[in-house]
């Protein structure tokens, strides 16, 4: 994938937020209201990935001179190309935010070439120097949030078994699973985590089955990485297991069983894009950040979280806020016995190696 841009990122060091190029945005922008088109792959109220983006978009609606148009359930086919064109031609959108990973290649690239005056910023992180300059990508180091989830989970578990419902064995998901268990093992190295892959981003029935299977197998704290955690969270809470949230705040779904959660916080990022454009400055082409940069935040602690757990998690969070926190640090093996990191070696959140993670750390039961 984006090895080119990754090496470049390393070159520029640990800076989390990089603006690699600042093309001057559409000059005419200052004249009228600026329209932002936001596109979602699922429903806007999914308690998950899409809702997190919709919340970011909602934060733009109150800003002066900004209009927001949104479309949900847009497929990753030519449909999304037509949606982008329709937003540009019929609504006059000058910034398009296609939020699903699968929109980028070829759809965003095609439309960016076709509409050189419109800015496209895609969530997921694939942009390279070879791509159109009016396109770009942004994403966040949310594995940090899963690490903190793991710390809180470790304090809550009695069985020392955690459960993870995952969509697909891709690097972004594997990093989250690894983060969750590494966080838990930082508290108690005896803890293990069973993972079940459902194979799809959104497959409610399998997510419920997986959650039940994990709990039947003894797991008493559950988290997940699927588009909508709603089913997993509700099922787990109903079965009496604790829940760590993901993507958005699901505390309303699990009540007192909700411990904490790793949430996206797109509002400041999106505000940055539009205020920059209103000032005549194009958003950065490659933008990444974690807890420290406000891309990721934690849900408020639930009532079941002990004082010790809060202190522990807050201390690590303060450490992460400084930047460069290594979730993967040696000596560490994967769950097949291969060495991942030698003693003294660690991967900070922006390490390029994390873009191509293909392993699960030791203590995770399941295979990538």
């Amino acid at each position: 994938m984006a090895h080119h841009s990754i090496s470049r990122r390393t070159l520029l060091g640990g800076t989390a937020v990089l603006g690699l190029s600042a093309l001057s945005a559409r000059g005419a922008l200052a004249a009228g209201p600026m329209t932002v088109g936001v596109i979602y792959v699922g429903p806007k109220d999914d308690y998950g990935y899409n809702q997190a983006h919709a919340k970011g978009a909602a934060a733009l609606k109150g800003l002066p001179g900004i209009e927001v148009v949104e479309e949900e359930n847009v497929r990753e086919t030519t449909d999304v190309q037509k949606t982008m064109e329709s937003m540009i031609n019929m609504d006059g959108a000058s910034l398009i935010l296609p939020t699903s990973f699968g929109y980028f290649d070829p759809h965003v690239l095609i439309e960016a070439k076709k509409n050189p005056k419109v800015q496209f910023r895609h969530c997921g992180g694939l942009w390279t120097e070879a791509n159109p300059k009016n396109a770009g990508s942004y994403f966040g180091y949310i594995a940090q949030g899963q690490y903190l989830n793991g710390i809180v989970a470790a304090h809550a578990t009695k069985s020392k078994k955690l459960g993870f419902v995952a969509a697909k064995p891709i690097p972004q998901v594997l990093n989250n699973i690894n983060g969750f268990l590494m966080g838990a093992r930082s508290v108690d190295p005896a803890i293990t985590c069973q993972v079940i892959f459902t194979g799809e981003w959104s497959l409610a029935v399998k997510e419920a089955e997986a959650t039940n299977a994990l709990i039947d197998g003894g797991a008493d704290v559950i988290t997940c990485h699927v588009d909508s955690p709603k089913v997993t969270v509700e099922t787990a809470a109903r079965r009496g297991a604790f829940v760590c949230g993901y993507h958005a705040d699901q505390s309303a779904l699990a009540k007192d069983k909700y411990l904490t959660g790793a949430e996206w916080d797109w509002a400041p990022i999106y505000k940055g894009f539009v205020t920059g454009m209103q000032a005549g400055k194009a958003p950065p082409n490659f933008l990444r950040g974690g807890l420290a940069d406000g891309f990721v935040k934690m849900s408020a602690y639930g009532p079941a979280v002990s004082e010790a757990a809060r202190k522990n998690a807050d201390a690590v969070k303060a450490e992460m806020m400084k930047g460069g926190f290594a979730i993967i640090r040696g000596p560490l093996k994967d769950n097949k016995g291969n060495e991942i990191a030698a003693a003294g070696k660690g991967l900070p959140e922006n390490a390029p190696e994390l873009e191509s993670t293909g392993y699960l750390v030791e203590g995770v039961r399941g295979s990538a």
Binding site: E76, G102, P106
Partner: protein
């Protein structure tokens, strides 16, 4: 229901030969009446559906007039809107044929989605070893691989039906889930491009194997091929002995067997052909849109195809206009979301209403005197124009 239609056609074909002929003028009127019935009942269902949907919108506090205006502007009102609708209609043509062809035999096959996905996967899979081959050879072999994959997949459903009596509706639906799971497994395993990290995909096709848009349009070649396929399916079912045999078998299997028709092979052949055509939709998604096979192939075209085939009353020539209409409604759905601030599911409510009403409309055929020559009271007419499905005198 589908079987009834086939019986009607077969019986009226018989009656034209067996009974004394009615005067030419009356024949023409009767022909026109039957044609009008076939158009007016579905159009009536469509109008009623829009009417009910308008009530639904009004109950949400949204203006039905604004809705219709947006459907027009989003789906049909400009060159961009028209091309948007045509683009969306293209894969739906193949998906609908996958339902309409087996329907000639009285079969309800709803697993086109699986054939589409496997067709796309097969096309992408053969493209990798073909890399560097001449453009024509590459594209032809990709299309052939897709056709074969779809034909084998749904042909198996037909064979199970013909020789083991397995219900084709359930079997095709379940096979479709298996197809998607198989495709995911291969795309994330053996066929995965190691460079595709967070969106597992097969290797990207050679630029030479990509299919561009139709000249002067932003709609890919799938539309033109889909139209030809509809025409081909119509000729096959309406103008060949094979199609006639299929209709007989669809009307009455026993009678067809007594006639010595190869019912099992007809069933297998028509389901296989349906699967092959559906797979072409997958081929075009890969060759004209994505450039590789990935999870986005599972886009639900197969299911919209079922709706279209039923709206078109399984008539291959009625599929293009219906697909265009549905494509237009889907094309306008985005504009409707943005302007009316209703959830995307609103369009699904409309599609569901239309589907139900069209199915209910099926019970109305032969109930209206104006469309039913046998109710006109003219003895001569009665002699020549028997009620559909009546026993021979």
């Amino acid at each position: 229901m589908v079987a009834d239609t086939a019986t009607t056609d077969a019986a009226s074909a018989d009656s034209a030969v067996a009974a004394p002929r009615a005067p030419a003028g009356l024949q023409l009127r009767a022909w026109a009446a039957r044609r009008a019935e076939a158009a007016i009942i579905p159009l009536g269902a469509l109008a009623l559906g829009l009417g009910l949907f308008s009530l639904f919108l009004a109950s949400l506090g949204k203006s039905p007039a604004a809705f219709l205006d947006l459907v027009y502007r989003g789906g049909f009102g400009s060159s961009f809107a028209l091309q948007n609708s045509l683009q969306r209609a293209a894969p739906l043509l193949f998906a609908a044929l996958c339902v309409a062809l087996p329907a000639r035999l009285g079969l309800v096959v709803i697993g086109g989605e699986g054939a589409i996905v496997l067709g796309g996967l097969a096309a992408a899979a053969v493209a990798t070893p073909l890399s560097g081959a001449p453009r024509g050879v590459g594209i032809a072999l990709m299309a052939l691989a897709a056709l074969l994959a779809g034909a084998l997949w749904l042909g198996a459903v037909g064979a199970l039906r013909a020789w083991r009596g397995v219900n084709e509706t359930i079997a095709s639906l379940l096979m479709s889930y298996i197809a998607i799971a198989l495709a995911n497994h291969l795309i994330e395993g053996w066929l995965r491009d190691p460079g595709s990290l967070n969106k597992p995909s097969t290797r990207t096709l050679d630029e030479a194997f990509r299919i561009g848009p139709l000249p002067g349009l932003e709609v890919h070649w799938g539309l033109a091929v889909g139209l030809v396929a509809c025409l081909f399916a119509w000729v096959l079912t309406e103008r060949t002995t094979l199609g006639f045999a299929a209709r007989i078998a669809g009307g009455n299997v026993r009678a067809a067997q007594i006639q010595g028709l190869p019912v099992g092979r007809l069933i297998t052949g028509f389901t296989a052909l349906g699967g092959a055509l559906a797979a072409l939709a997958g081929f075009f998604e890969v060759a004209a849109v994505h450039g590789n096979a990935n999870g986005s192939l599972v886009a639900g075209y197969g299911y919209t195809g079922i709706l279209i085939a039923f709206l078109a009353r399984q008539n291959p020539l009625a599929i293009p206009p219906v697909a265009f209409l549905l494509g237009g409604i889907e094309a306008s759905s985005g504009l409707i979301q943005r302007r009316l601030h209703v959830p995307d599911a609103t369009i699904l409510v409309l599609e569901g209403l239309l589907f139900l009403l069209v199915l209910m409309g099926e019970t109305l055929y032969g109930r209206f005197k104006v469309f039913s020559p046998h109710l006109w009271g003219d003895k001569q007419a009665a002699a020549g124009l028997k009620p559909p499905g009546a026993p021979a005198p």
